[in-house]
């Protein structure tokens, strides 16, 4: 393994804290079958990333699960959709490299739970005026109807 490749592997391992599991996963199956793993660690997203790097994962990934397919997810309510952008996305300001433009990978869409989400905050506020109920605004990085969010 070249020095560069070794450095890359080490860096990825540090990113994800899976250094202990790398050899086991790499050697466990030589087939070319693509196995997508489910996001097993949403709890970590609440930790500052710096803490994530320092803390790392204590336990190796021990179980590969098949991907959740769109068909296996129950159909969401009619109202479910991606809401309008109420908050400007600072991510758009990320400078793209001129020679290698970043491509946003298409994510598999999933049902955003069983909550009957309004399409946009204005719609929710209008509904609130009618119903007298408060608006619940769930703000997040990523998209609730993306598989990885």
């Amino acid at each position: 393994m070249s020095r560069r490749a070794s450095d890359t592997l080490a860096l990825i391992a540090v990113f994800t804290g899976t250094i202990a599991s790398l050899p086991a996963l790499a050697q466990s199956d030589g087939s070319k079958r693509t196995v997508e793993m489910r996001d097993m660690s949403k709890g970590r997203i609440e930790m500052p990333l710096k803490g994530l790097f320092l803390d790392r994962f204590k336990a190796p990934v021990s179980k590969l699960e098949p991907a959740v397919t769109a068909k296996s997810v129950s159909t969401p309510a009619k109202e479910v959709s991606t809401p309008a952008k109420e908050v400007s996305s600072p991510a758009k300001d990320v400078p793209a490299r001129a020679h290698k433009p970043a491509l946003k990978p298409q994510q598999e869409k999933v049902a955003p739970g069983k909550v009957h989400w309004h399409r946009a905050i204005q719609t929710a506020m209008d509904a609130s005026k009618q119903s007298g109920k408060p608006v619940l605004l769930f703000q997040m990085m990523g998209h609730l109807d993306d598989r990885f969010c």
Binding site: R4, D7, L11, I12, F15, T18, A26, K32, T34, V35, E36, M37, R38, M40, K42, G43, R44, I45, E46, P48, L49, L52, A59, V61, L64, P83, V87, S89, P90, A91, D93, P95, A98, K104, P112, G113, K114, V115, H116, W117, H118, R119, I121, A124, M125, A127, S128, K133, P134, V135, L136, L137, F138, Q139, M140, M141, G142, L144, F148, C149
Partner: protein, 260 residues
């Protein structure tokens, strides 16, 4: 997954007009093991639940992810705070009093005060004030049978939404949210009376959730690139906007502020 839970969904659908928005894309890491196996996960993400009035004024914010039961309890409290607003002499002052009282309670006892529900407002002859509705932490426990604390597990079965209720990490995050993040949220809202979400979102993410959404690297450039061996991969634009004096091979994208 929290919103896949039947109880959470029913409670939210019954009491609120829910909507979700994205403040930015979430970083995603994919490791290609080269043998047909890939692992994908989110690298960093943070959430906040706002409760708003019909005109968009913030009643309160729950920072971060919560364990199911605590999330529902907190949402219920905020539902009642919102419920009382029309019965107060000055809703803006009422919210300011509420945030002040909660800030002081968390500061002194480590816990927020609890909101006392009055379903039928017509039976209340007195004017609604913060003193009327807030009770010391744990005041209701005397009226309820003691419940057995949930057995927490380190690795729950993520295919079952109900299992999240026993996830140790989620319980730990919930505790951090209430003890460490909620106080600064009250202070922030106290400083911004009548604020709408767009007025405080960036501050919330930067100062409370420690994820600067104005920074392409979420304030983590230094950590990410300190030992990064391929400087040619660091975007040139980020070098220009960062420190004019690169140190060694690393160019910091943004000044690092350690909030811990």
């Amino acid at each position: 997954m929290l919103f896949s839970d039947e109880k959470v969904a029913n409670d939210i659908n019954d009491k609120f007009e829910p909507v979700w928005v994205s403040v930015r894309e979430v970083p995603i890491v994919t490791i290609d093991f080269g043998n047909g196996r890939k692992l994908t996960r989110t690298l960093h993400g943070n959430v906040a639940t706002y409760v708003l009035t019909a005109d968009g004024t913030i009643v309160d914010i729950l920072p971060g992810l919560y364990e199911r039961d605590e999330y529902l309890k907190q949402l219920d409290s905020l539902f009642w705070v919102h419920h009382y607003l029309p019965s107060t002499r000055d809703p803006k002052a009422f919210l300011a009093d509420y945030h002040h009282a909660q800030f002081e309670s968390i500061k002194t006892s480590g816990k927020a005060m609890e909101v006392r529900p009055f379903a039928d407002m017509s039976k209340i002859a007195i004017e609604i004030s913060i003193k009327t509705i807030l009770r010391p932490p744990g005041w209701q426990s005397g009226f309820r049978p003691a419940s057995k604390p949930a057995e927490l597990v380190e690795h729950p079965d993520f295919s079952k939404p109900g299992e999240l209720a026993h996830w140790q990490k989620l319980h730990e995050d919930t505790e951090v949210n209430e003890k460490e993040r909620r106080g600064p949220v009250h202070a922030m809202l106290l400083a911004h009376p009548g604020a709408k979400p767009n007025d405080v979102t960036k501050q919330l993410y930067r100062e409370v959730l420690h994820a600067d959404i104005d920074d392409p690297y979420l304030g983590l450039g230094e950590t990410l690139f300190r030992d990064y061996p391929f400087t040619e991969d660091i975007p040139a634009e980020s070098i220009k906007t960062a420190s004019p004096k690169p140190v060694g091979r690393f160019v910091s994208h943004s000044p690092k502020v350690d909030h811990h």
